[in-house]
């Protein structure tokens, strides 16, 4: 039963990965990537790694792919335009490199390299796979785990800074201009009309600065 399930999910994984790189519409590529991640999660479950499988679905298929789809729709991309001799040449070279890589891996495996003797399986821990990982994560891997939070924080700050990009130099100046202009415009207006008069006086000043 398990080898059959493995074969089925492996076939889905390879087919959807191929469609990711072959389909010309980026949205379809992203959706096939979700399918690939889900079948990979099923493979993790078959291997007894329940925690990793669930995290795969939640983080990859849930969070990362939503980010991808959001950016694709934000940029409003159509189909890719492909063609030309150079593109064809490069495509051929790419497939040759891929075939060489797979052949290399298969040859190493056929010679029995990289495979040591299999360690006998111990009975499952009392808290299950997730409990065992949690214990390990908060004892031996506590420091890397804390560093991970730093990595995420830096990535978040970096993403925001990069995305704001060129608007940053102009942004504060434009935002500060009405605030600087309002006190200058306010004193002539306050003796005449009081608070209602400040608003019309502030609005033209904003237009001039913009």
């Amino acid at each position: 039963m398990i080898p059959l399930l493995f074969a089925a999910f492996a076939a889905v994984l390879v087919a959807s990965s191929l469609l990711v790189i072959l389909h010309r519409n980026p949205v379809t590529s992203a959706l096939f990537l979700v399918l690939a991640f889900c079948s990979l999660a099923a493979l993790y479950l078959l291997l007894g790694a329940e925690f990793v499988g669930m995290v795969q679905v939640i983080v990859y298929a849930g969070a990362i792919m939503v980010l991808f789809l959001f950016v694709i729709m934000y940029l409003n991309l159509g189909h890719d335009v492909e063609g030309g001799v150079q593109t064809t040449l490069r495509r051929g070279l790419g497939w040759v490199v891929g075939a060489v890589l797979v052949a290399e891996g298969a040859m190493l495996l056929a010679r029995g390299m990289a495979l040591g003797p299999e360690t006998p399986q111990s009975p499952p821990p009392p808290g299950g796979n997730t409990g065992a990982i949690g214990l390990l994560l908060y004892s031996r891997y506590l420091f890397p785990f804390e560093i991970t939070s730093l990595v995420l924080l830096v990535a978040m700050v970096g993403a925001i800074v990069i995305t704001r990009g060129r608007t940053t130099p102009a942004g504060p100046a434009r935002a500060a201009a009405p605030r600087a202009a309002a006190p200058r415009a306010a004193p002539p207006a306050t003796p005449a009309a009081g608070p209602p008069g400040t608003e019309p006086a502030g609005a033209p000043a904003e237009e001039v600065h913009a």
């Binding site: 398990i2 493995f6 492996a10 994984l13 390879v14 990965s17 990711v20 790189i21 590529s29 992203a30 990537l33 690939a36 990979l40 493979l43 291997l47 007894g48 790694a49 925690f51 990793v52 995290v55 795969q56 990859y60 969070a63 990362i64 980010l67 991808f68 950016v71 934000y74 940029l75 991309l77 890719d80 492909e82 490069r90 070279l93 790419g94 497939w95 490199v97 891929g98 075939a99 890589l101 797979v102 891996g105 990289a114 495979l115 299999e118 360690t119 796979n129 990982i133 390990l136 994560l137 890397p144 991970t148 990595v151 995420l152 970096g158 993403a159 990069i162 995305t163 990009g165 060129r166």
Partner: protein
């Protein structure tokens, strides 16, 4: 039980598909998805060896790889959005500012 060599072969195939995607496609977003495929192929190898060696350390490494991948996607997509604002394209052939 699934033999380790099947899993490693599957991992090699998915990794090679990712490499081909990076080499063949011009769309920066699809190139990025291919990089994700390669990361996942490495994760599959980690989990396979964790089962083979009857040790949980491989699964912990997968957890850290996923964290780094999430950070990488956030920063990379921000760069792509910025690139699109600057050049109105996400095709890597048309980004040739360094070409002289």
């Amino acid at each position: 039980m699934i033999p380790l060599s099947w899993l490693l072969l599957l991992s090699a195939v998915v990794f090679a598909i990712g490499v081909v995607g990076v080499l063949v496609r011009r769309n920066a977003l699809v190139i990025f998805m291919s990089v994700e495929l390669m990361l996942n192929a490495a994760n599959l190898a980690f989990v396979a060896f964790a089962r083979h060696l009857n040790s949980l350390d491989g699964q912990i490494v997968v957890f850290f790889v996923m964290t780094v991948a999430a950070a990488e996607v956030a920063v990379g997509l921000a760069i792509i959005v910025n690139l699109f604002r600057l050049r109105e394209t996400v095709f890597v052939d048309e980004v040739n500012l360094l070409k002289g």
